[in-house]
Amino acid sequence: MAALGRYLTLLACLVSASGAQAAKISALIFGADAKPLPNAVVVAVPEEGHPPPIGKVVEVVDQIDKEFVPYVKPIRAGSYVQFPNKDNIRHHVYSFSPAKIFELPLYKGTPSQPVLFDKPGVIKLGCNIHDWMIGYLYVAETPYFGKTAGDGRVDLDELPAGRYQVRVWHPRMEGSEDATVTRVDLEEATPAVVEWTLKLNPEYRPQRTPLPGEPGYR
């Protein structure tokens, strides 16, 4: 059944891609169980030329019901990110990731200044009050990226013709992102379809519910 769904998704991808006017890459990501994989980031890096410069871009990662929303947010290097707290309690957002070490001490509402992310890489977000809160920023060195939806698919539109190195990243993927690199020659009005199957590691988060007789995180 999962295999049938996989082929139907691939067929839909090809049909929609063939009708497009601009060049694009349609990516399909599946887990090892053949189920579509959401929250995977697909990045296309042109082998030649320079990507257009980035203006001031402010992205948003919310905190809603003691979770980061969205769970995975791809952004381009040089973007700013606001971290609005939409809960009626305080959060304490931080990251230890080498690509950006920062801390937003206890706050409610929206911090006055967004945070600049100018170095490509993966940034793992946490809240120092609610340890189970985990989110990811994927900072891409290229403007050509996207995140898979629930159907495991993402379309990278409006790509100039040329040769690209395309890769995929997921928070729970086994192995390195570099191992997924595939080369795609993209011609004007000729869409390409790429597909990956990723093995996933289990996710271990601090649990939200306390053990009996324990106050938990509070």
Binding site: I89, R90, E103, G126, P202, R208, L211, P212, R218
Partner: protein, 311 residues
């Protein structure tokens, strides 16, 4: 030594009920005061319900004195947790507890109380060690009125997440139970309040995240202090105790007595997360007490299955 049972006039049911009502009103007043305060803290609510089995409720030494039963148990906690500075949180919560036994209904009880705690985290991130200093008091109203009283606990817990799957915590705690009423002496020179107990606890617990939703735990507690047991009249046992009183909960003619003992408890648990806020927990514990006298060892097997909702 001859033991004679003495009938005594207990505190009236009406008076006990009015104590509980006053306590309930005080708790509600605290809750309303907290709710209307300018604090910007986080409200928390935990509810746990399920069943608990104890194969030696009476803490009996002889086989004939060992009484087993299962209780439906409920624990509720609602509180406000106010961050202080960047790394500490002060929590004030109201507690409610209830036990309803299938057979030994004299142990049925409801409890109301409060807890204060200060939690400090030494650094950023889930692996930063933390310390919780807490004190709580709860008044229990038992079906068997002479067990009514205040239960107190105060202690500290130090914990750290060793890695993403292992958590380790150690604790020390002082506990005391002070019964509201003292029965007349059963034996001349012996105080009639065997339910007044106290003890120091030291323990450790480790938790292992077996899957993304399953936690296994292993705990050990060592306690030194006093414990209460119930027996049929036994002159030898009473020679080692300093307090005793009639206790009909497990049958007529029973006597509750207090002795000094070192108690150890080892527990294994499994907690399965059902959703963001709910979990089902299974716990097995083996508890054994070694009296600080020539009496033999007391032991018990404890099993509980509970469901927890946490907001």
């Amino acid at each position: 030594m001859r033991v004679s049972l003495v009938s005594v006039k207990p505190m009236t049911r009406l008076r006990r009920r009015s104590n509980l009502i006053r306590l309930t009103i005080s708790c509600l007043f605290c809750l309303v005061t907290l709710a209307s305060s300018p604090a910007r803290g986080e409200w928390g609510f935990d509810a746990t319900g399920g069943f608990a089995y104890d194969d030696n409720l009476s803490n009996g030494f002889e086989a004939v004195d060992r009484k087993a039963d299962t209780a439906a148990v409920v624990d509720l906690s609602a509180g406000l947790y106010e961050p202080i500075g960047g790394s500490s949180t002060l929590g004030l919560s109201l507690l409610a507890h209830g036990d309803a036994y299938f057979h030994y209904t004299g142990l049925d009880n409801v409890g109301l109380g409060a807890r204060a705690q200060l939690r400090t985290k030494f650094g950023l991130g889930p692996r930063a060690p933390w310390l919780v200093i807490a004190a709580q008091g709860m008044y229990h109203d038992y079906q068997y009125r002479y067990q009514d009283g205040w239960q107190y606990e105060a202690g500290a817990t130090l914990g750290t997440q060793l890695n993403e799957r292992w958590l380790l915590r150690g604790f020390t705690r002082y506990d005391a139970y002070v019964a509201s009423q003292t029965q007349p002496p059963l034996i001349p020179g012996m105080v009639g309040s065997p339910y007044d107990v106290y003890g120091w606890n030291l323990g450790a617990q480790t938790t292992f995240l077996a899957t993304g939703v399953d936690r296994l735990s292993l705990s050990y507690t060592w306690r030194t202090g006093t414990v209460t047991s119930v027996t049929q009249p036994d002159a030898e046992i009473l020679e080692y105790s300093d307090r005793a009183a009639p206790d009909p909960v497990f049958g007529s003619g029973g006597i509750a007595y207090r002795i000094n003992a070192n108690t150890q408890t080892i527990g294994i648990g499994w907690s399965h997360t059902l959703g963001q806020r709910t979990a089902v927990d299974f716990l097995y514990a083996y508890r054994w007490s070694q009296p600080q006298s020539d009496l033999g060892q007391y032991y018990a097997n404890l099993i509980s299955l509970t469901f927890t909702y946490s907001y």
